[in-house]
């Protein structure tokens, strides 16, 4: 693509709109952070970073970019893992982190309207203080809600409550030509034309820029109890998951973890985990309004675990206990990252009935490909995170073994009728796997949708379905 290179005229135009030199970063003032995201080795600097504060600013800049054929990349906290928020064609980066206001809490409709830069941890704390509940719970709490919507983030409560898409009611979006549109709204049902709102969710900043989101809330469950279940082996632990799902006991989360990862987290947090007697654990969470109600709900699942060889069921029923477990769980990614020199990740999702097969396959790959792989994840929803670690391998060896491991994992996921990404998205880094696994006709439709939204292809080019 031939894009226009940002020049002094564009800079003057942007400064004229923003009128605050501290919100316009140019040249050497662009921090290194803006050249990459949290994980992928996709690196590219934007020519200019604009910290926008309003829809109007986004619309004006977008219109200018459209008229002048300048590429634009939207970005939240930059906690993505697949390079979706990296400016591959340089140009303008729109940083939405200052658009971080809660605009309205509508207790009549149980919705909250927020700007895209509100952090997930701010959002959940805000609603919880008011007795309400925003269920999506990805591990990365410092991600922005705009980023969560853009990747359709899932998180740990997906087993019972679903993913981000299920909680987005309406969006205000600035289209690539600068037009501001609204998709969806506060309505609960909607059969009015194509589901534009749902198309935006998970579009990874390629179709439009989200400037406002109306999110659905639930009443806050009064109490949550987690069960930490030690198993003698990973196989025994993970083999239990399909049985729990089949038992209809409705936990909010089913996570699996291995001792090694727990030890990494202990080291990373400088805090002990409440148990380290077993090689593998399942972590189940149940919520409800009274302790009795929850105890009744988990009894069936506890029985299944014991029948499958669990050595005990450990009960976490207070805030302190919950924190000691879930804080460690939330730190797994960072902890694994800290245990090696470099890593790449796989975020495959398979049907829930096949989750044990997938986990065991990844576990055994360690021997086959001779590379360290650590995994943990949302066993209950079939979404697994495997981290392939570089350690002391040479760049060449790493590239070779990592690619071999990835190819095998994605191949196995395809065989089990799974998908390339459960919640992290495709971005830039996972495109080749999407092309391999997706029907070419579907990819063509996706490209058509992209062209309908963004005929000049200026918004976040080279991402998702584009070469």
């Amino acid at each position: 693509m031939n894009y226009k290179k940002l020049d002094q005229g564009d800079l003057d135009f942007i400064n004229g709109i923003i009128n605050d030199p501290e919100r316009v970063l140019y040249g050497e003032n662009i921090n290194e952070e803006y050249s990459h995201d949290e994980l992928s080795d996709t690196v590219s600097y934007p020519d200019i970073v604009v910290k926008v504060t309003s829809t109007e600013e986004v619309a004006s800049i977008m219109k200018h970019a459209y008229e002048n054929n300048i590429p634009v990349t939207p970005r939240g906290s930059g906690t993505g893992l697949v390079g979706a928020s990296v400016a591959m064609e340089h140009g303008i980066m729109l940083d939405t982190t200052l658009m971080n206001h809660v605009l309205e809490l509508d207790e009549d409709n149980l919705t909250i309207t927020v700007e895209p830069g509100v952090l997930l941890m701010e959002l959940s704390a805000y609603v919880q203080e008011r007795g309400l509940f925003y269920p999506p719970d990805p591990g990365e709490k410092s991600a922005t809600i705009g980023g969560n919507i853009s990747t359709n983030a899932g998180g740990m409560r997906a087993v019972k409550y679903g993913v981000t898409r299920d909680y987005v009611r309406g969006l205000e979006v600035v289209l690539p030509n600068g037009t501001v549109v609204e998709f969806g709204g506060k309505v609960v049902k909607n059969s009015t034309g194509y589901a534009m709102k749902d198309l935006m969710v998970g579009s990874e900043g390629t179709l439009g820029i989200i400037t406002k989101a109306i999110l659905k809330l639930l009443p806050l469950p009064q109490k949550a109890i987690s069960l930490l279940v030690p198993f003698p082996s990973l196989e025994a632990a993970i083999g239990t998951v399909p049985l729990i799902i089949k038992s209809k006991s409705a936990p909010t989360a089913i996570e699996f973890m291995q001792r090694e990862v727990i030890m990494d987290a202990e080291k990373y947090l400088g805090k002990k985990f409440p148990d380290n007697s077993a090689d593998a654990y399942l972590l189940l969470k149940f919520d409800g309004n009274t302790t009795e109600e929850i105890e009744k709900a988990y009894e069936g699942a506890a029985k299944i675990c014991l029948e499958q060889g669990a050595t005990d069921i450990l009960i976490s029923d207070t805030n302190e206990r919950e924190e000691s477990i879930w804080k460690a769980r939330g730190a797994f990614l960072e902890a694994i990252k800290g245990s090696t020199t470099y890593m790449d990740e796989v975020d495959v999702v398979v049907p829930r009935s096949s989750v044990n097969e997938m986990v065991e396959y990844i576990h055994n790959l360690y021997h086959e490909v001779d590379i360290r792989i650590k995994s943990f994840g949302h066993a209950g929803d079939g979404n697994l995170h495997a981290y392939i670690l570089k350690d002391d391998l040479s760049d060449e060896e790493w590239e070779h073994r990592m690619t071999a491991a990835m190819d095998k994992i994605y191949g196995k996921a395809r065989e089990l009728k799974g998908q390339v990404s459960g919640e992290h998205g495709i971005g830039y880094a996972k495109k080749s796997y999407l092309f391999e696994s997706m029907d070419p006709a579907t990819v063509e439709i996706m490209r058509g949708i992209k062209a309908a939204f963004d005929p000049k292809n200026i918004l976040n080019p080279h991402k998702v379905c584009q070469v």
Binding site: D20, P274, D312, I313, L314, I315, D317, T318
Partner: protein, 262 residues
């Protein structure tokens, strides 16, 4: 080794309301839990038992529902439970509470080691442990953050004195008040909970104690008079400013100057 752990049921919230008229904590409607510091005391007891053998008795004073924390201690691995409960014990301050506990302990017999949490999260006085040891005439160490050496007749511990660490060796019998993070408390076990659900909890009332004088217990035995209880003021004042970095910097400096912080 015979170990006793003193535990207490506290409100499961840090936002306990105070009745403005009576000045008494409103406990109704607030779920309760074991005092978090006591979990460290129980864990310490379990670790010592793992090393030295013996038995762990847990004891609490309170109304009937306080038995809940004893059941929880059973699910963590404690062997026996004692509930000191009598209407006449109600309204006790730290002195009367300590005296009542020590009377209960005397009734139970000799212990080698008595463990308490450093303090409770409702009263926060950190006085009951040391006062119990006074009543029993045994040595005590507070703020114990680490066990250095454990022997048949004595224990060597580190005590956290905020600015420095003091090491103390104490002969058994003694009383230790343990600080948080001495050990990570284990979680209650579902299997142990099921196995102990019918285990008897011994209940002790005034008439079983050696000293039966009502004036030494409850409100009667409490020299402390509570004038007023109020939650600490929480400062939730927030201001949001907007402007350029230079403007905000100047304003922040001026504000700090006005508040005499700089």
């Amino acid at each position: 080794m015979k170990i006793l752990v003193c535990i207490k049921q506290v409100p499961d919230s840090n936002k306990v309301e105070v009745d403005p008229v009576t000045g008494v904590l409103k406990r109704n409607g607030v779920e309760s839990k074991m005092n978090p510091y006591d979990l460290y005391a129980i864990e310490t007891a379990l670790r010592i038992r793992e090393e030295m053998g013996g038995s762990i008795t847990v004891m609490t004073m309170g109304p009937g529902q306080a038995a809940g924390v004893i059941r929880e201690a059973f699910a963590m691995g404690a062997d026996e439970g004692v509930l000191i409960s009598d209407r006449k014990f109600g309204g006790a301050d730290v002195l009367a509470t300590s005296y009542t506990l020590s009377q209960g302990i005397k009734l139970l017999g000799d212990f080698d080691l008595i463990l308490c949490g450093k303090q409770t999260t409702d009263g926060d006085t950190a006085q009951v442990g040391p006062e119990v040891s006074e009543c029993l005439g045994i040595p005590s160490v507070s703020n114990v953050c680490k066990i250095i050496e454990l022997k048949q007749d004595a224990i060597t511990v580190e005590m956290d004195m905020t600015h420095d660490i003091e090491i103390a060796k104490v002969q058994f019998p003694c009383l230790l008040c343990v600080d948080k993070d001495i050990f990570m408390p284990r979680l209650p076990s579902f299997l142990k909970k099921q196995a102990t659900k019918d285990r008897e909890i011994r209940v002790i009332s005034l008439e079983q104690l050696e000293d039966k004088d009502e004036k030494h217990y409850g409100l009667n035995g409490s020299p402390t008079q509570v004038q007023r209880i109020f939650p600490p003021e929480s400062n939730a004042h927030r201001e949001q400013w907007s402007g350029s970095g230079t403007e905000l910097g100047k304003r922040l400096y001026q504000t700090l100057l006005d508040l005499k912080f700089v």
